[in-house]
């Protein structure tokens, strides 16, 4: 489990996170949603140590990440997989080399074991046989899948996904969502997804945290988000007339 306790973060004079606390349980897909500029990416980046928090604690299964030195943090980071918004694949390496990279850096696997692991990860994301492609030769959806394959290569306990569906068509977005959900359930990973995508909220949101003005404004799941009367949630999730109609129809059904 990942726990965030009373986290505050300031950039210069501007406070971005205000006393945020939340728990992210293993084997569940935890979503952090919110409008742009409200602090959700800062929260996620603070959780993995790309930003230092001003106060508060980040706990990985009880281990206080915020108070660790560099070497202890490096150990925790080997338990973290991350899928970046733009995939962040190393563009000078092939798909296979990208997935092999963390294995060659941090494990004592033989070449054969590494190759088996790469093939397994590629098969898991339905990209078998694409080992020799370079990221520039892959479509956006393929890049995301390679990103997931690289993220799970080290058998992570924690998986962070930063807007995994941005720039993807709806059909591919569903494929990526399903993949994230399946991997989370299959391996019991603590998964945290930052997203704007309401399809993702409805499809995979086991636990949904709404960040607004740097604060945790609301917490629930994909079912309770439909019935909540929280005005900020309504304004964000059901902003369009289409979504409002869907919501009222769903509410009717629930009644």
């Amino acid at each position: 489990m990942i726990s965030v306790r009373n986290v505050n973060k300031t950039f210069g004079k501007q406070q971005v996170l205000f006393d945020v606390s939340a728990d992210f349980e293993p084997g569940r897909v935890n979503l952090i949603i919110g409008q742009s500029g409200q602090g959700k990416s800062v929260l996620a980046k603070s959780m993995v140590g790309l930003h230092e928090v001003d106060s508060g604690q980040i706990l990985f299964d009880g281990r206080n990440f915020t108070e660790m030195d560099k070497s202890d943090r490096a150990e925790i980071r080997q338990e973290i997989g991350m899928l970046f918004q733009g995939s962040a694949l190393f563009d000078s390496m092939t798909v296979e080399e990208n997935i092999k990279f963390p294995l060659s850096m941090f494990t004592k696997m033989t070449k054969k074991e590494m190759q088996d692991r790469v093939d397994f990860c590629l098969e898991r994301v339905n990209l078998q046989g694409r080992n020799a492609l370079y990221p520039s030769e892959c479509s956006g959806g393929m890049q995301k899948r390679v990103g997931i394959a690289r993220a799970i290569a080290m058998n992570p306990k924690y998986l962070f996904c930063d807007e995994p569906n941005s720039g993807l068509d709806p059909k591919t977005a569903i494929v990526i969502d399903s993949l994230i959900k399946d991997i989370t359930y299959e391996y019991g990973i603590t998964t945290i997804v930052i997203t704007h995508d309401m399809n993702s909220v409805m499809e995979i949101g086991d636990n949904v945290i709404f960040i607004h003005q740097g604060k945790k404004w609301w917490e629930g799941d994909r079912h309770t988000i439909i019935t909540t009367d929280n005005p900020e949630i309504e304004a964000f999730v059901f902003a369009s007339e289409f979504m409002k109609k869907i919501r009222s129809s769903l509410k009717e059904r629930i009644k």
Binding site: R77, M82, S92
Partner: protein
């Protein structure tokens, strides 16, 4: 090995071109200004040798490499920053500074001196072509000039400067590259050129005077 290719081998054509032509021009200009009968003919070869070893090859070639290699490094690192590849390294627990910069520093420190020695040889050949082929001087006189007052410590001085310049170029470009790619590349070329010239003055003062 990629870094050697990138920093060393890929720079050979520009270094060869610049060195040959500048060597030719140095010798021609020296010859055209040597009209005093008191100066021996071999002075042209001697001045070409001294200019090339002491200043042209280590300093001017380093300034050229600052533009070529340095801006490439700035673009590469800057692009990696923007596309979150450096964040990806950090998340994996990889020290991005060691992983990305150290091989470049090593390649620069090892291969810049090789390029500079190559430049010295080509510049002197350039001078030879300009003078001898144009029939301005005999081969024997030019070679005598090149060998006159030759001091090995000048080579040591030149290579010491080159190692320092190689380190400056890689370090400054890397630092600048993490910001905005285009802006950082331009700024880095200017900053490292200025730092090279200041370092050149300091090293010259320390080693020769």
């Amino acid at each position: 090995m990629d870094e050697v290719q990138y920093i060393g081998i890929n720079s050979i054509p520009i270094v060869a071109l610049m060195s040959t032509f500048i060597g030719a021009v140095i010798s021609l200009q020296t010859a055209s200004n040597m009209d005093s009968p008191l100066l021996p003919d071999y002075t042209v070869g001697y001045i070409t040798q001294s200019s090339v070893i002491l200043e042209f090859s280590p300093t001017i070639i380093s300034l050229i490499l600052a533009g070529k290699v340095g801006s490439n490094i700035a673009s590469e690192i800057g692009t990696m920053r923007i596309t979150e590849q450096i964040d990806a390294l950090e998340i994996m627990g990889v020290n991005s500074l060691n992983h990305l910069i150290l091989p470049k520093v090593l390649a620069a420190v090892v291969y810049f001196p090789v390029l500079v020695i190559f430049s010295m040889i080509l510049a002197m050949i350039g001078g030879f072509i300009a003078l001898v082929v144009s029939d301005l001087q005999s081969t024997e006189t030019y070679v005598l000039g090149l060998r006159s007052f030759f001091d090995v410590s000048n080579i040591t001085y030149a290579l010491t400067k080159t190692v320092a310049f190689g380190f400056i170029i890689v370090s400054i470009y890397v630092k600048g590259g993490s910001l905005d790619v285009g802006k950082a590349s331009t700024k880095s070329v200017v900053v490292s050129s200025v730092v090279i010239l200041i370092a050149n003055f300091i090293i010259t003062k320390l080693m020769l005077l």
